[in-house]
Amino acid sequence: MSLLIALGLGLGLASPEAMPGPHHVDLSAKSFRTWKVELPTDAFRPVGDGIALPVDLGGLYKVEVLADGLMLDTDGDGVVDQKIVGTLDKVTGERTARATLQKMGAEGSGPAYPIRLQNLGKGWTWACGGAQVGTQGDTKLAVFDANGNGRFNDVGEDAITVGSGDIAMLLGKTVYVGGHLHNLTVAADGSSLELVPFDGPTGTLNLESKMDSKGKLLSALVVSEDGQQCFDLAGASAGLALPTGTYHLHRGRLGLGNATVQIDGTDMKPMVVEAGSSQQVAWGSPVRAEFDYQREGSQITFQPDQVWLTGAAGERYLGWSPIGKSPEFSIVERNLGTEIEKALFPGSC
């Protein structure tokens, strides 16, 4: 049951009668008024003098920065035509907005390209605000121009979601759809994708069954060494058969209720998947903590951003949310071991 649920969540509902393939899936542009997708890489980049989108969308969409927003050339004719003010967070001073770019030429309007805009205090940045979406059987597919170059087929740089989940994988050369592994080809303009059953050698990698945690693994993106493959192994309690190769954990997320924490796999050992092999990775608890402190006279200062938590496989846990929980620092007398003072971070940290 759990594997079935996992497939439903992350890999698309199995609909065996529709598989294997090949399959041609038409995709169409969709914007997201409320952005919930977690892209695998930070997609925002400075707007500079304009937003450059090659391919068919045209050249530079000119931008002029204003004190309370920006002026944007939304149709690529070199003249700014839309004032963007955005929603201001009065506490942080951050502004967020969305807009749609459109090529207007002699042949009429071209494809729409929704964007998100934000100003976190260091100037305006932008990222894709929509996706090319379609369905294969009952499985939803959405391809994102995560690297913001106007193309949707950049393996290892663009992103894809399969099914109803909001956590995107890096676009790989293969993908699980309907419980089956397929070779994946996306058209550069994002108008369609092709799925062809994968018949290469595979081995099984399992990051779920030996994750020692009281929470739920929400995502565990593994990326092959050559950057050509990416899979989300969260929820796959029996593991997933992956194309052979060496993989590393790109990032993950662990959750319980509303609380989440991000997992960084930079310091984890690479995971080698050989043909016919099966391996389970033990990670999670016990978690080791390291911290820095500053001592000035009789005062000792601890900083929340100077506490590092490392799991059993070397994974790092970052960005605890919600905040307000604290480790307890105990200061003891060196020789006797008696406790001199306890310290906790205040509730706002």
Binding site: F32, R98, N258
Partner: protein, 788 residues
């Protein structure tokens, strides 16, 4: 120093090493009472309690959520925590007591919660919750210390002390004569789970929660059954079929339970079922408190939602106008219409639904929020449609400014049409004037009115509006450009200048003047000219405090000390974000002095004083800097400057040309620098400082570090310079480009050109190892008549 800690941090309950966890310490022993009854209300799907919070410092009345499943103790908004002084300056937490009508609970500290949620809830439900804000949430870490009776049908929660009976937990469901049942509960991650049977009879578990109104079914499980709308069939606790009481809402459950997660009990079930949870003895008693009446409308919405089809959602709204889910359905409809690129009519209908499903006294506020979003998205038709709805509901809105803001945005939308197509002039004027009537100091509205009058050729009126707009941070830069544009067109036109604008805004912006002018005396002798460098930023702080405090103090100091006594130089740094006057010169000089952030006065490179603060602190800042300057003046300098400088136009460009002889002594590390400063520059920013004074604009030596101080003939150093102001300006723009491309931030580009008749030349000799200034001087170039 990095140490390995002896503990594992387990801030959330999912890590297994819990023994050393701080939470055990934090929440093991909140102050106990004998318990009692907590009156509660369901407001917009949240369980809310009105109570008081107190610390040793203060007591405040508040509203709090009760979230039985929340992985927290007491969450509290920062503003409420500040009022209670919940944390001391050294970071130590103060215990907080929650006062209910007949008992109280004390928790050792607060946690920070979702402040946006708390603020929005207060904003939109202020009538239901009364005068007191909703500022936080009581979670499982507090409630786990009690037996909890959830009696929502009676509007109360009953807390009684835990009382273990020493018996083994019951293993199965027990049914009593009165129809109530007793079930074993499981505690996973500090949450309470009830045993349920799925439709096929297999076991599962449902969490008990009070954080949401709807009861949930795990979306993944429902989808796996081919029931994405959540209508999975009977889900039973003993003989009680939950599915006859409520339509289970399919949502992703981020929870774990060994029997499998079926869903979560929400407030809608608790309105029908009284549940008494006895954690100590691992048992819950459930009694039906209100008869089942299946809400078919809810299920229909979940079906429409699962389809992700706008037509289905709109059909639901047509059939269930008064449904409690109508507001959510309206928002979803609008999302779907926008996401699919619906027609203006379709989006307009969705906007109408959003308006209709919003409480009458919040419709204008809601429409204004929507208008702003749609304006950014270029959906002009929707902006106008929402604006009309907003204006119509304006009188009833609880926020009186909302209707003026709606008028303002409507006016701007019509204005853009007027500017582009020459249409809707009357509508633009009428709405903008209405907006200005309600919000006379709003910068954007004044700016738009100025644009309207300018378009009509009524330049005097336009100028007047632009002057109103130039002093506001949001509209200042655009208003400045507009003023430059309109000034030559005025009937009694004078040249545009800082001085003109300064006269116009006098009285509208804060100012600070020195009561006296400095005169040397025996008590305050002068043995050198002192240089005061002011490191600042136009966006530091706001109108209440930040750069404004330092800028006002600088104004007073410049009035007090003549240029023969003190040379002033202001350097604009790129923190917290670049402003138009940032230069690489400022960055490098700050680096020499070890300064990283703005808000500092530096006296001759050796003494410092605060350069930022509240506007009312300006006098205190002024006094500190004055004292430091006077102290420094007593220190004799051997350096003397003879500077001859003029402004001259060369091929249409203004050049600063001059020669100088500097006397003193040679020493390793000594350098000389010559700067162009501008006496006044207009650059309105968030700090609300409009006119920046003595702004360093660039070096005349070709280097931010200046030149080695070396004698030519054994007794002095001779200098000569000829630098184009345009070159300096271009170098500054290149630096702003660099900041932008390196990700340090971008800024609006105003006051790029250096105004020749504001130019001053500053010279100083400094020790490059320490940054200390050993001698300085300032001259005003000749040739200003030509510049004017």
């Amino acid at each position: 120093m990095k140490l390995s800690a002896a503990w594992s941090r387990v801030p959330h309950v999912w890590q297994s090493v819990a023994a050393a966890c701080a939470l055990a310490v934090l929440f093991a022993a909140p102050a106990r009472a004998q318990g009692g009854t907590i009156p509660v209300r369901v407001v917009d799907g949240h369980l809310v309690v009105s109570c008081d919070l107190s610390t040793a410092a203060n007591r405040i009345p508040v509203n709090l959520f009760i979230e039985y499943e929340g992985a927290h103790g007491l969450q509290l908004h920062n503003r409420a925590a500040a009022g209670l002084r919940a944390e001391s300056s050294d970071g130590k937490s103060a215990p907080i007591t929650i006062h209910f009508p007949d008992f109280a609970i004390t928790v050792p500290k607060r946690e920070l919660g979702d402040e946006d949620l708390f603020e929005d809830f207060t904003k939109y439900h202020s009538q239901e919750i009364g005068e007191n804000a909703l500022v936080g949430s009581i979670g499982a870490e507090v409630l786990a210390q009690w037996q909890v009776g959830l009696h929502l049908a009676e509007g109360q929660i009953v807390l009684t002390p835990l009382a273990p009976n020493g018996q083994a937990p019951i293993g199965s469901v027990v049914t009593f004569d009165d129809g109530s049942i007793q079930v074993p509960i499981s505690l996973i991650n500090n949450r309470v789970w009830l045993p349920v049977r799925r439709p096929d009879g297999t076991p599962g578990a449902m969490m008990v929660g009070t954080g949401q109104y709807d009861s949930w079914v795990d979306r993944g499980w429902a989808e796996s059954l081919g029931k994405p709308a959540g209508d999975v069939g009977p889900v039973k606790i003993g003989p009680i079929d939950l599915h006859t009481f409520v339509a289970l809402r399919p949502e992703r459950m981020v929870e774990v339970h060994p029997d499998g997660v079926v869903g979560k009990v929400g407030l809608n079930l608790l309105e029908h079922l009284d549940i008494d949870i006895d954690r100590a003895n691992r048992v819950a008693k459930i009694q039906i408190a209100a008869p089942a009446k299946f809400p078919t409308g809810d299920l229909e919405f979940f079906r429409a939602r699962a389809l992700e089809d706008a037509g289905a959602v709109e059909a639901f709204l047509n059939d269930h106008k008064d449904s409690r889910l109508a507001a959510e359905a309206s928002k979803l409809l609008l999302n779907l219409r926008i996401d699919e690129g619906g027609s203006s009519e379709e989006i307009g209908r969705a906007v109408q639904w959003v308006c209709d499903s919003t409480p009458k006294d919040l419709r204008t506020t809601r429409m204004y929020d929507l208008m702003r979003e749609m304006s950014d998205a270029g959906q002009t038709v929707v902006v106008l449609e929402a604006g009309k709805l907003g204006v119509a509901a304006g009188r009833d809105d609880r926020y009186p400014n909302a209707v003026h803001q709606v008028h303002g945005l409507l006016g701007r939308t019509y204005l853009e049409d007027y500017e582009k197509n020459g249409e809707h002039a009357t509508e633009a004027w009428r709405h903008l004037l209405s907006a200005a009537f309600g919000l006379p100091e709003d910068g954007s509205i004044n700016l738009d009115l100025g644009r309207f009058y300018e378009k009509q050729g009524r330049y005097n009126r336009a100028y007047s509006r632009y002057v109103q707009a130039v002093i506001q941070p949001d509209s200042g830069p655009q208003a400045l450009e507009a003023l430059q544009r309109v000034q030559p067109l005025l009937d009694d036109s004078t040249a545009f200048s800082v001085d003109t604008i300064e006269r116009m805004i006098a009285g509208k912006v804060r100012n600070f003047g020195a009561a006296t002018q400095f005169e040397p005396s025996e008590k305050e002798p002068v043995d050198r000219v002192v240089m005061v460098e002011f490191f600042t930023n136009g966006h530091q702080g706001d109108e209440k405090g930040g750069a404004i405090g330092g800028a006002l103090a600088q104004e007073g100091l410049m009035q007090h000390f003549g240029p023969e006594y003190v040379v002033f130089v202001a350097h604009h740094l790129a923190n917290p974000q670049p402003d138009p006057l940032c230069t690489s010169l400022a960055r490098d000089r700050a680096k020499q002095l070890g300064i990283t952030d703005p808000g500092v006065f530096v006296i001759d490179g050796v003494a410092g004083a605060p350069g930022a603060g509240k506007w009312r602190d300006a006098e205190a800042i002024y006094q500190k800097v004055r004292d430091a300057v006077v102290a420094r003046m007593r220190e004799f300098t051997e350096f003397e400057f003879e500077l001859d400088c003029r402004l001259e136009q060369v091929d249409g460009a203004w050049h600063v040309i001059g020669t100088g002889d500097v006397y003193g002594y040679e020493e390793n590390g000594l350098r000389i620098q010559l700067l162009v400063t501008e006496a006044g520059v207009l650059a309105p920013g968030k700090s609300t400082v409009v006119v920046h004074r003595a702004v360093a604009r660039g070096p005349l030596t070709g280097s931010n570090e200046g030149l080695p101080f070396e004698f030519d003939d054994g007794e002095h150093m001779h200098l000569a310079w000829d630098v184009s102001l345009d070159d300096l300006s271009q170098a500054n723009q290149a630096f702003l480009d660099e900041l932008q491309t390196t990700g340090l931030g971008s800024t609006v580009r105003i006051s790029k050109a250096i105004d020749p008749h504001q130019v001053r030349v500053v010279a100083y000799v400094y020790q490059s190892n320490t940054g200390e200034i050993l001698g300085s001087a300032q001259v005003t170039p000749q040739g200003l008549e030509q510049a004017q």
